[in-house]
Symmetry: C2
Subunit: 342 residues, 2 copies
């Protein structure tokens, strides 16, 4: 691997001159600079960032920890973040924390050892657990911003979507369509997802609509979604609409409904949440809540880079919240009885 020294020798100058020349410093004679630059590029020289980083005490790298990338929500986020980070001239160190809190800790530790300039932490579905780790990190002055709701993080910079508002809008939409018997279906509501249910339920309550236990199904796996759908259909009085509180779940629900010969939206209304790409390529196209991911990503890296770049005054922790929008597509219709009434 060629070093500064190597090309310094070739150019007959000292390695510091080469360093300056390659940094395009005005302190070096234009001609020698040119000469050195040419020499370097001919030799295929590339700075050794690890040496450079050691010296300048910065890596121009931000760490991103997300739970996984096989759940389609995250890739969308990662792509946006990656583009923003790159645009700002930083590299991205991606860590997948899985669902395991130990792995999350390990990720954080690794990033710190790597001396990344800042950390973007997306809380897992079970809420963040590596709290001590995070606190230690913050205490040690590493800029960190958190995405997702986690209890007791007022002292941290955070960005979150206003899921409650989204859930509320969704419920209102269904109610407006005439639905009164509405089911909800999804994974057990951990903190990350609790709010969308909260808002949804609030709207139902306001409208005086009951949400009996029988219409609330918890499904942790694909197979359980299938069983849940079967359960709902077998009810003496089945729902006319289902709120699957993640788009991928909604897609699954639509599939199981089709298996049972129930068509969407004619015989059943289904709505999701997040407006992932899949929402627009499944059929019927999904009515959902969206538009939050992009601003979330922007604020996420914006906030971090602000912290990273101004080494000076450390201000109060910021809490950004982004309001999502209702996205109306094709998966909803008035309930059957309503239509017949007309």
């Amino acid at each position: 691997m060629t070093t500064l020294e190597d090309i310094a020798r070739q150019a007959g100058v000292s390695h510091s001159t080469v360093s300056r020349a390659l940094a395009d410093s005005p302190l070096v004679n234009a001609e020698t600079k040119k000469r050195i630059q040419i020499l370097a590029s001919e030799a295929g020289y590339q700075v050794n960032q690890v040496a450079r980083n050691l010296k300048v005490r910065s890596t121009k790298t931000v760490g991103l920890v997300v739970p996984e990338v096989s759940n389609p929500y995250y890739p969308k986020l990662v792509q946006l973040i990656a583009d923003l980070v790159r645009a700002a001239g930083y590299s991205l160190q991606l860590q997948l924390s899985g669902t395991d809190q130990e792995v999350e800790s390990a990720c954080l530790a690794s990033l710190r050892e790597q001396r990344v300039d800042g950390i973007l932490l997306v809380s897992g579905e079970n809420g963040l657990v590596a709290r001590e780790h995070v606190n230690a990190l913050v205490a040690s002055g590493v800029p960190l911003v958190l995405m997702g709701w986690v209890e007791g993080t007022e002292h941290l910079d955070t960005v979150t979507g206003d899921d409650a508002k989204g859930g509320y809008a969704l419920a209102q939409h269904l109610i407006g369509l005439g639905h009164r018997r509405i089911a909800i279906l999804g994974k057990s509501p951990h903190r990350g997802i609790y709010d969308r249910l909260y808002g949804f339920k609030a709207a139902l309550k306001e409208a005086g609509i009951e949400l009996p236990e029988a219409l609330q199904v918890i499904a942790q796996s694909d197979a359980e979604v299938g069983r849940g759908v079967a359960h709902l259909l077998a009810l003496p009085e089945p729902p006319t609409a289902i709120f699957a509180y993640q788009d991928s779940l909604a897609a699954l629900v639509i599939g199981y409904l089709a298996d049972a010969g129930v068509s969407v939206p004619q015989q059943m209304t289904v709505v999701g949440f997040d407006n992932l790409d899949l929402a627009s390529y499944i059929s019927p196209r999904l009515t959902t809540i969206g538009g939050h991911i992009e601003p979330l990503a922007t604020q996420f890296v914006g906030l971090l880079l602000e912290r990273v770049q101004k080494t000076a005054l450390r201000e109060l922790p910021q809490h950004v919240v982004v309001t999502p929008q209702l996205v109306v597509r094709k998966s909803c219709a008035p309930p059957r009885n309503k239509r017949e009434e007309k």
Copy 2:
């Protein structure tokens, strides 16, 4: 940031002893070792990997460059790779090369500057373009393995799926079902995807089935897929089956067919390629070609780590090819006329 020196001072020993103790070297007295370890953990000491890397001339990091992560094919791959890499004790440096060859070059350059121990390069859809860069890398001895078909890479380690075989199997399946009028639809076939078409066409030819121009539609965007579907349906003699040579395209096709009131598989058979997760959660569940991604990922990182770890004898370039399987689900049926004949 606490350093070895800091805790050496606290422990009243030299920094090298601390270094040894933390590396759990047997060369240091058991008691002092214990004492140092405790001290270090209390102080929240974390090695400075950048200093360490500089010294040991290795980063225990591998670079992964993929075009993007918003196309659902890649996240699946990235997840698998990330898990394998982590399991082997390496970190992952993710770079998104986009569709732009300049960006790809920049990614490669950045990884090299970062002094990653090896590079996993997934060729973009347009085939790899940063050839000079890749050659330079290989010449400079950085282990690199390439995923995806690219011309003139016999001198590189590569892993590829046998897409031709997959395409062939798919066509045979359709033919077996009785289809004779079959359309293909997808992006303009660059090298990365050419083979699946090649195999598909070969099977048609063998069976004496024509594939007129009118049944070959190129669609670069979502909207064009819609137009393509409309075009096919408007044909005097429309196809009875459509091969959309990427799962996400197939999903889109199914959606547009639904818009036109054409149901799958009753009125139209649709098949995809890759068996992404979405293939099993859209409805109808998609018949496709799958099972290649996992072995591809395994071989990909296996090959790289082999190269990275044995600094000794550099063997001949390896070319691994993985054979995919037909995955039969619900999106195919015999063509209408056939069924009526019975």
